[in-house]
Amino acid sequence: MSADIDRSSPMTLTTEQDPRQPGRPPAPPAPAAPADPGQEQTHGRAARLRAALGTLAAHPGLLLAVLYLALILAWTLAPSLFAGTDPLRTDPAASLTPPGADHWFGTDNLGRDLYTRVVHGTRTSLTAALIAVSLSLLAGTVLGVLSGYLGGWVDQTLMRCVEVLIVIPGLLLSLAVVSILGFGVTNVAIAVGISGIPAFARVIRAEVLRIRSSVYFRAAVTSGTRTPVILLRHVLPNASQPVLVLAALEIGGAVLSVSALSFLGYGAAPPAPELGAMVSQGRDYISTAWWLTTFPGLAIALIVLCANRIGRALERTGVR
């Protein structure tokens, strides 16, 4: 999942264009030579990487988003590298210390280091969000492919069910599911994942329908390729582009939902650090210790913004 994902097919200008094809804007005439197989500039991994880096350099906002997400991914993978102390270690003597050199983000009412808790809290929230999006992606893909490929009554039934899910606001649905499953971070992740299924199912279905009507799909059928193979080799890879965009956007949304549910007390049980729960606990001290709500809140907001920025960039680099 990176910005270079769809730079694999650099367009070389070609001299032959469809004179009968309607609506083609007057094409800038190609350089004199017809697409000669000998001269192709952008090929291979190195060139693709270079192109991706070029894109990043041209968009500083995107670069920041990528760097920040890389940082919190590192937090998630190895939190102790970035915050050496134990997020649960209390130090009553240093309770409610404002941000400073010893405690970058300050401490909470029990004297726990807030920076350490934000690092570990981000880890909890992001892991939950990734589980949620993976669940939506997987289930949504299965439903969307079945619906789009089989059509008929299968399509009708599945899509009506999906629409029922869409009608219920996402957070409400997650709340209902989590009440059934019980409290806990994993259950919150599953609940958020379920409420994300409809979006994926619909996007995948639309893509499957698009690819099904393509000429290369028909060519695959007539060349005797079996249906499951066509799905794996033609349909899923070609559908991946918009799905990746959606996944990037959904990660931001899932972090928000997971935090919201934790804020409401359905997620991580204290004293475990979780961004939403930390905001909730910090509310009691909002007039005396602003940092308790501000830093976890900022962490949530930044993840959502960065995920959106990257999703938008992925959307733009797509080839169809």
Binding site: Q17, P28, R218, A219
Partner: protein
């Protein structure tokens, strides 16, 4: 350039246009000179990328973003257009220069009534006092454009009209301001051949009546030769040859023009070799397929036989049901009624396993070279797909076969690792043909395989098809709207119209002595006849 030509209306002197991007500059038009006198027709001919449309747009001052006139002058009736500001251009476009765009179906505003769109031009240029007068005048203009019941047409929305009717509306709009010069950019390329002829006839009549000069931009040398007083052939941004249409078509001087003329399918050449006598390979009986729950029959009782080693052309205009027939034979769609027998097997009664075995022998080549290859597959992967599906050989064997097939369709071995976006249209179509041949099938179903290609590329692909047929004893079911192409590739032809076959027989007989009036109409609509048979005047 005729010597007795009066003072030119339009004069283009040493015109240069360049497309600039951050990385490169493409010089699309390089030193073009044109002269066009009032009432005369000049055709600008060239293949895609030759700079012909760019020249037309430069004259109109409508170059796309990034393109710039980098040198030279365009003068209309003594006024230098290249120096005009945008405000001044508005009084020129529509009033002094009319423009007929290429694609009639997308060139009208889809949500405004046709009459309003014509009246709009009159109001903009102050040619009508008020809305009411403008509307009445618009109806007259639509009548002039040859539309039946113009008052009715004025009230319709563009989607309710056919392509030919839309093009007539666009011509009415272009002529509404009584311009001195009309620029028509591929005005009929998206239309059927019979409609094309009527539209071109109409353009000829109006320009004659009003003494309008016509700059006709087209890829079709025959159309140009038929319709223009003078032809200018463009290649790579330069005019390589100019002269009267008949002369250019029959005695081209420049090598590029000679190549272009040679590539135009010849209606006088001997037709393709007939099939050896033998049992029929494909037999179709009473085929029927309707859409919209039976209301429109796309294919309505079609029957034909194709001998082993034969090549049957199915010719028809858009909506005749020829492509649906191809889909049915390929078993991509099921008929409502009728039988398709291939080599003694009834396709309709076969189970999935037997059908899959039979698919090996019936392979397709589709029209759209841009859509028929999976954009994520390399050329080698695309070609090897049927081989993988039938597990004919191992990995090594597949690689060898792909190399062999690339060679067969005259693609360099280096093409194997490329993706479709890196290939030209002609190269992609060669890849499609290689894929179709991978399993050494017995029947190729070719659905408009060359209609999206430039004429010189088309000629080379057709040559390849003829060679392959002779070399492997293949049978072709060749679907096309282009009679000349069919004549070159097929030994028998079936003419389709509205879902039915109206005439069928050996190519030579049908083309030289057409029995059905529709076939006669199709044949007489083929451009290039006038220019090839020199007429007085």
């Amino acid at each position: 350039m005729t010597t007795d030509a009066p003072q030119p209306l339009l004069s283009v002197r040493d015109l240069h246009v360049a497309f600039r991007s951050r990385r490169s500059t493409v010089r699309a038009v390089r030193g073009v000179n044109l002269d066009l006198a009032p009432g005369r027709t000049l055709a600008l001919v060239g293949e895609s990328g030759s700079g012909k449309s760019t020249t037309g747009l430069a004259v109109l001052g409508l170059l796309p973003p990034g393109a710039q006139v980098t040198g030279g002058h365009v003068t209309l009736a003594g006024r230098d257009l290249t120096a005009l500001r945008e405000r001044a251009w508005r009084t020129v476009r529509g009033r002094e220069i009319g423009f007929v765009p290429q694609d009639p179906m997308v060139s009208l505003n889809p949500v405004r009534r046709v009459g309003h769109q014509v009246a709009e031009v009159l109001l903009i240029h102050g040619l009508a006092e008020d809305r009411k007068a403008a509307h009445a005048r618009a109806v007259d203009l639509l009548a002039d454009a040859g539309l039946p019941e113009p008052a009715e047409v004025a009230r319709t929305l563009p989607h309710e009209l056919s392509g030919g009717m839309c093009q007539r509306v666009l011509i009415a709009i272009a002529l509404a301001g009584r311009p001195k010069l009309l620029i028509a950019d591929e005005p009929t390329s998206a239309l059927d051949v019979t409609v094309q002829r009527r539209i071109l006839d109409h353009l000829e009549t109006v320009t004659e009546q009003h003494g309008t000069a016509l700059l006709l931009i087209t890829h079709d040398l025959s159309v140009a030769a038929d319709r223009a007083d003078e032809i200018a052939v463009m290649s790579r941004g330069e005019i390589v040859e100019r002269g009267p249409g008949h002369r250019v078509l029959t005695a081209p001087a420049h090598p590029y023009t000679r190549e272009l003329v040679a590539a135009v399918p010849d209606m006088t050449a001997a037709p393709a070799a007939p099939a050896p006598a033998g049992p029929p390979l494909l037999e179709v009986r009473g085929l029927r397929r309707s859409f919209d729950g039976g209301r429109t029959a796309a294919v309505d009782g079609v029957g034909f036989t194709l001998a082993a080693g034969g090549s049957l052309g199915i010719v028809g205009e858009s909506g005749s049901g020829k492509s649906t027939t191809a889909q049915l034979v390929l078993r991509l769609d099921r008929p409502d009624a009728g039988t398709i027998t291939f080599d003694g097997h009834d396709l309709g009664s076969l189970g999935p396993a037997a059908l899959r075995r039979l698919r090996r022998d019936i392979q397709p080549v589709f029209q759209d070279p841009y859509g028929s290859l999976d954009p994520r597959f390399t050329v080698a992967q695309s070609i090897a797909e049927p081989l993988r599906a039938y597990r004919t050989t191992g990995r090594r064997g597949r690689q060898r076969r792909v190399a062999e097939l690339l060679d067969l369709v005259r693609l360099p071995a280096t093409a194997a690792g490329r993706r479709p976006a890196e290939l030209s249209g002609g190269q992609r179509q060669r890849v499609s043909i290689a894929r179709a041949l991978a399993l050494t099938p017995r029947l190729l179903v070719l659905d408009e395989p060359v209609s999206a290609l430039d004429v010189s590329v088309q000629a080379s692909v057709l040559d390849l098809l003829a060679e392959l047929r002779a070399g492997f004893g293949l049978s072709y079911l060749f679907i096309s709207h282009d009679l000349a192409v069919v004549r070159q590739v097929c030994d028998r032809v079936a003419v389709m119209r509205r879902g039915r076959i109206v005439e069928t027989g050996p190519v030579a007989r049908v083309f030289d002595h057409p029995g059905h009036p529709y076939t006669q109409e199709l044949l007489s609509a083929i451009p290039g006849r006038r220019a090839r048979t020199p007429q007085p005047g």
